[in-house]
């Protein structure tokens, strides 16, 4: 629709303002993460830019340095003891390992299933499709208690064995990612014209060969997009990790432990929070084009 110039200007300004409102919280966290404590907790006014930036929050959470030592070095007092609990390096490792592993497991089980759903006619196809879809609707709370018991029985808790704890999280994350991965991949495989692989099969290629040499390479953009989405969902997951693990603390679980009885460590919370959103921001820009399709389980295309 054509607008007259003042109206067009008003619309541009409003669009920028609304987007700005939605960006503001992210900006505010990042800003808070470099503020000294006095600026964060100022009760008399809102501190915007008039403070001396500090990297101490990042040094403690991401590099594992001691806050009291840093405070002494900077000559700003004795600091507070006991900052080891805020060292988040192991949490970042946990999150990264579990997210990458979960993505790998999801893709390994989802790709073949999506291919079969896209290319084969078989009895029970709709049943299987609805089963996968139903999985997306299942509240994680409905399955988590028995899983805790089962993991305990199998000796798969992180308190039994840290690496098995990783594996346990990967597997349950893979289940949570499965519906989106299968349905999204199916929609990408559906986009590859069927004539191509049918022609190959008439020439004597097996299904496996057509899948590896034709369908998969032609849909590799879609496979990458599905993998990125699985990674993001695993990275942001909270409930399962909270209930299932004790020693393993993924970043979302770790960050809420910074709320203490003596006060909330806002500097550390904002620093870790800001760092935790960066992988997502990078990845989402890579899959911008397939985002709608992914979020609607392949039912809407952009």
């Amino acid at each position: 629709m054509e607008l007259s110039r003042p109206w067009q200007f008003a619309r541009d300004a409003l669009a920028a303002f609304v987007t700005g409102v939605f960006m503001f919280p992210i900006f505010w966290w990042a800003l808070t993460s470099i503020k000294p404590i006095s600026a964060v907790f100022d009760k008399d006014r809102i501190v915007w830019f008039d403070f001396i930036p500090t990297s101490i929050n990042y040094a403690v959470t991401l590099l594992g340095q001691s806050r009291s030592q840093l405070a002494i070095d900077a000559g700003i007092g004795m600091g507070v003891a006991g900052t080891e609990a805020y060292d988040s390096r192991s949490s970042i490792l946990d999150s990264a390992v579990v997210s990458v592993g979960a993505t790998a497991v999801t893709m390994m089980v989802a790709i073949p299933a999506a291919y079969a759903l896209s290319r084969m006619a078989f009895r029970g196809r709709n049943v299987f499709l609805n089963w996968v879809l139903g999985q997306r609707f299942m509240p994680p709370i409905a399955i988590i208690f028995p899983l805790v018991t089962t993991y305990k029985w199998l000796g798969m808790r992180d308190t039994d064995n840290y690496y098995l704890g990783w594996l346990g999280l990967m597997l349950i994350y893979a289940l949570m990612n499965l519906p989106i991965a299968v349905l999204l991949l199916k929609s990408f495989f559906d986009d590859v014209p069927k004539d191509v692989d049918e022609a190959a099969m008439i020439d004597g290629a097996t299904r496996w060969e057509t899948f590896c040499k034709i369908v998969l390479p032609m849909a590799k953009g879609g496979v990458a997009a599905a993998a990125v989405l699985c990674f993001i969902f695993s990275w942001t997951e909270f409930l399962l990790s909270l209930f299932l693990t004790t020693d393993i603390r993924t970043v979302p679980v770790k960050i809420q432990t910074f709320v203490t009885s003596t006060g909330n460590e806002w500097g550390f919370i904002t620093a870790l929070g800001t760092a935790a959103v960066i992988p997502g921001f990078i990845f989402i820009l890579l899959v911008q084009r397939h985002l709608v399709r992914g979020l609607t389980l392949g039912s809407l295309k952009e």
């Binding site: 619309r11 541009d12 669009a15 609304v18 987007t19 919280p25 992210i26 966290w29 100022d42 009760k43 497991v105 390994m108 989802a110 073949p112 299933a113 291919y115 084969m120 078989f122 196809r125 299987f128 089963w131 996968v132 879809l133 999985q135 509240p139 994680p140 709370i141 409905a142 399955i143 988590i144 208690f145 028995p146 018991t149 089962t150 597997l171 499965l178 097996t206 299904r207 899948f211 909270f238 409930l239 909270l242 970043v251 979302p252 960050i255 809420q256 910074f258 919370i269 929070g273 935790a276 959103v277 921001f281 989402i284 911008q288 985002l291 709608v292 979020l295 609607t296 389980l297 952009e302």
Partner: protein, 300 residues
Amino acid sequence: MTASEVQKKDRLNWLTSEHPLPWLLPASALMIVFGVYPLIAAVLKTLYRKNAATRREIFDPLYNWTKIFEDPRMWDALWHTLAYTLIALTFQLVLGMLIALLLDSDRKGYGILRAMMTLPLVIPPAVTGMMFLLMLNGSFGVIARLIIATGLLPVGYSILGNSATALPGVMLAEIWQWTPFMVLIMLAGLRALPKEPFEAAAIDGATPVQAFFKLTLPMMSKVIAIAVLIRGVDLLRAFDYIKVMTDSGPGTATETLTSYAGRIYFGNSDYPLASSVAILTLVLVILTSTIFMRIFKVKL
């Protein structure tokens, strides 16, 4: 090929890539072991009564179910879950549609605005919750300070610490993070609309508002229904923001079904009772989504 050879080929067929079984087996195994089995185990668990003193579980199929249906706390949690879902969904839908209309332009710069709008979607909800906890703090939180400056709330008022405003406070984080989801989907819907009906309507003298209600909305109905369904299911099992922002409090002011189940579980380890509330959440999700899909004829 002899008859026996054909028979042998048939028998072995399900092991080859020509048969769907090998393709579906890994996904089925994962869904059975980590989905179906725990679900059945959880349902069976609800049939047992936990004796708090002896810590033994005794078969008593109706005990937990009568208990939760007579439990005023469960009804409160159910009510909070429904209110949270309906209110947040309405805000997300209306705001999402308005923002999508605003950003649906081919002019320079709008692409960047649209890309920025998707950023909240990838933030871990627990992180969002923590950050809104900071911004809603009554004495130094930036959002709370701005609201207090308008005079709507008294100085030092704790939004999340008062039962009257705690749930709206949690919803603010929810709405902030997931309105972009609606924006994104509505934008995809808007961009896919054909141009001709709108040109014809403009020639006939229809106002943009008329065109929106008579053309855009009906043509977008499928897209809107899908977005509402997906978001609604997630809202009904809301947990993350509530856990980190208020931990269901103050008191039980922000307790939803999922967070109530979690509290029973962590609180007194009554797994059977916690499972009953958890299974009730599942039933609620199945019921509402089935009814919704029937009424609006949506299929994912």
